[in-house]
Symmetry: C2
Subunit: 474 residues, 2 copies
């Protein structure tokens, strides 16, 4: 690990590749109404939840099948033009932006549940299926898909960014929950990266190579993921703390004791205030932990009692419990609305999100100094965290037209990442590298690892057409 | 998935690459007493637990540091000579055999525990540390490393084959339990694939690309792995069943109900007989399940009661419980001695191991027909299984000099793999591909995925010096 030496450049040099008329004609001929060059459609596909603004893609293809994806990629390959897979547009780091031009390949219409194997706890879906859609589709089987990144993201996009979220502390991330993928390669070939077997030692782990590759190594056209029996009992709790430190130290102790907690989320007082205003919740405006326990009724009771004891030892109070789905939904409103509440608190703002993740023993060191810095900066922010995993997010709310604010926010982010790397952590727990963290990735892993990533990219996509200009400069 | 069309060739064509005298001199100069070309040393490094016999490596280097590994690989690279990492020699599929000649790089002396981060539930070790050594070293911390492939394998070797074993049903495999690796690349450069953060979206997942790459993409020189708090309560049980089917159907139900069982191992009547003879155990010579439950005292009791109920419904009887470590060890003796008991039951025999793994709902279909076939063949065999994961092993005990027996055993294996692939399973749950399963891998994943693996190999090891001739033909 090397400390990043200077705030990174916000965007790589943009060199838009030409979109030949012959390719436009060929796509039009092949895809008809599934193809568009209308500016409104292009613009919709030229932005995500990041704060970057770049020219939109030259065209959009709406794929409805694996064959559509394969043909679109083949045509792009014939003309060496970029292809950028697009799910619902909820990525945070500029992953979807056409920094080298080309085609946005929208897979949102590929939204079929292909198979539900309830006996094996697996489902296979097309990439445009969203996590909420999946859970709705399987709710009658007594199963659920736990990965919850907040946004109602597409499963394809969640694979591509190695997403996780609130339930990861117990159920793992997309890394642990994807069994197999169908992928269209840079030459338009369809490959299969695994089977439905729970474990395998059959060759290189192409599944996990694709998970987190951000569309740069292939286009995901189907995913087999793990699902879980709905717990017999679920209990949620909210607890206020006198300080962020008290909340964090409670969390650390819970994790170190091996309590199989399903969710443990931090929200700082600032963000509680924003949520109270946005959703009229009336929560105590103090740092709070939102927790959830899954298991047998006895198991949940045991966990809850132990955690309440730990929290009380750290000054936690105003415990509020929820056992019915309706009560739980109300408690979780605070967490699920945090992002929107923050954005609305400063009309016209853009969010610069941080995503550091550190070993749990380093969490307090990493978080508390960064809070002090953020408070001193004067930049408004929200702070939420999947603290059970050592992962938290500042969202700096900047005026996008104010260069000074943007730079200040980037300096805060830079200081935070430097701190996290020095504490043996990562610059991104779940959002991915995209455009925003290329220099951080280099600082984190070193030039050797990035060179290895680049060599893999060049071997699998020699024309650099799959979402070029992301993760590393190429 | 394509059905394999014919029994695979047992060994690829062997083309031994020359070992230039200048390289021998250079290795001798650099490594002195850590270098050997003595035939006894070479022969020790030229065999593993597979049934193959090929000429030994030309030389052996005993690495004592990452710098030693880097220098050995650099020298090998200068002369385009193969390098084969060697841990304890317990691999089952010919991984360690020098099919293209070259240097065996023995890392067993790199056996230091580099750091124990008890608060974060991680440890970092050199690759020659064995799993038992690791557990001995951390036992006073209240933590344990759960992955148990049977043999006292090295952590480096376990990473390289994506090993798992008896505890995987609850704790996952090496895929889920390796956080980060230090790796020497084909050019002798040292790279780092991750951090100690529990999760990360920082670029391509080089950790999991290396895990299971069987020494073909890099030499692992350090590994950071997850460890777990020793459960508050552990209970083990043994239960006999009237048939393999009854034992398997019990297991399927336990898994489908989501019981967090820590171990559930099948041993067939045949193998119980062998173990009784070998270890004088006096177990009922019927199919049995060995199970273990981890958790709080109440949680363990709940699990055990539920499982006993399910087993009894399937005709399970003669339940024997063990709660103290000594009692548990006695029960587990049967499982841990199965391999050696089987080998001793037929003096001079070699074992051909199968390693299929299927989705749990297909386990009975896959296993029962294969038992019928094995019984009909007349080849002696043992049968054990990590049945909670859908993974089981036949060990066909063949006379290595009897071609007919070898072919019969390979035909059994072939029929079993074909069945597993048709049931959406894998040819190898945990042993790896090595020399033995290259055709099976092709049948399982298809030519496209193998071509992608080969492209990655060629990009990262253009001279094909890292354990060449394994996983796929190259």
């Amino acid at each position: 690990m090397n400390a990043p030496t200077a705030p990174q450049h916000l965007l790589p040099t943009i060199a838009i590749r030409a979109m030949p008329a012959a390719l436009v004609d060929a796509l039009q001929a092949r895809f008809g109404k599934q193809f568009s060059t209308a500016m409104a459609v292009r613009e919709h596909h030229g932005r995500d939840e990041s704060s970057f603004s770049v020219p939109p893609p030259a065209a959009v293809v709406f794929a409805e099948s694996t064959a559509d994806v394969a043909d679109a990629v083949k045509l792009a390959s014939d003309y060496a033009v970029p292809v950028i897979p697009f799910g619902v547009g909820s990525s945070l780091e500029g992953h979807l932006l056409a920094v080298q031009g080309g085609i946005s390949l929208d897979v949102s219409r590929m939204n079929a549940i292909l198979s539900v194997n309830a006996d094996d706890l697996t489902v296979t879906v097309q990439p445009g299926v969203t996590r909420k859609q999946l859970n709705e589709a399987i709710k009658d089987t007594g199963l659920f898909f736990p990965i919850d990144p907040g946004a109602d993201a597409s499963i394809g996009g969640m694979c591509a960014t190695r997403a996780s979220g609130t339930n990861a502390v117990r159920y793992g991330t997309m890394r642990e929950n994807v069994l197999a993928l169908e992928v269209v390669t840079a030459s338009g070939e369809v490959i299969y990266t695994g089977t439905r077997a729970k474990k395998s030692s059959a060759g290189y782990d192409l599944t996990r190579l694709m998970v987190g590759s951000e569309g740069t190594l292939g286009v995901i056209t189907a995913a087999t993921v793990k699902v879980y029996p709905l717990p017999e009992a679920i209990s949620a709790a909210i607890c206020s703390f006198p300080s962020i430190e008290a909340a964090v130290r409670s969390t650390i102790q819970v994790i170190q004791l091996g309590v199989p907690i399903a969710r443990v989320e931090l929200i700082d007082a600032n963000t509680v205030r924003m949520v109270n205003t946005y959703a009229k919740l009336g929560l105590r405006e103090e740092p709070l932990l939102l927790m959830e326990f899954h298991g047998s009724p006895t198991g949940v009771k045991e966990q809850a009692e132990l955690v309440q004891e730990i929290a009380t030892d750290h000054g936690g109070q105003a415990f509020e419990w929820a056992s019915t789905p309706e009560e739980r939904t109300r408690l979780w409103t605070a967490r699920h609305n945090a992002y929107f509440a923050a954005v609305q608190s400063r009309p016209g703002c853009k969010v610069i999100s941080t995503d550091t993740c550190v070993p749990i023993s380093r969490l307090a060191d990493c978080l508390l100094d960064s809070v002090t810095e953020a408070d001193a900066s004067g930049i408004p922010y929200f702070l939420v965290g999947h603290v059970g995993d050592g992962n938290f997010h500042f969202g700096y709310l900047i005026d996008p037209d104010n260069t000074e604010e943007r730079e200040k926010a980037e300096q805060l982010n830079h200081a935070l990442v430097s701190r996290a790397l020095a504490l043996e952590g990562t610059c991104t727990g779940e959002h991915g590298v995209g455009l925003h963290k290329m220099d951080f990735l280099l600082a984190e892993t070193g030039a050797g690892a990035v060179a290895m990533m680049r060599a893999i990219k060049q071997a699998l996509d020699p024309q650099n057409i799959l979402n070029p200009g992301k993760i590393f400069r190429l």
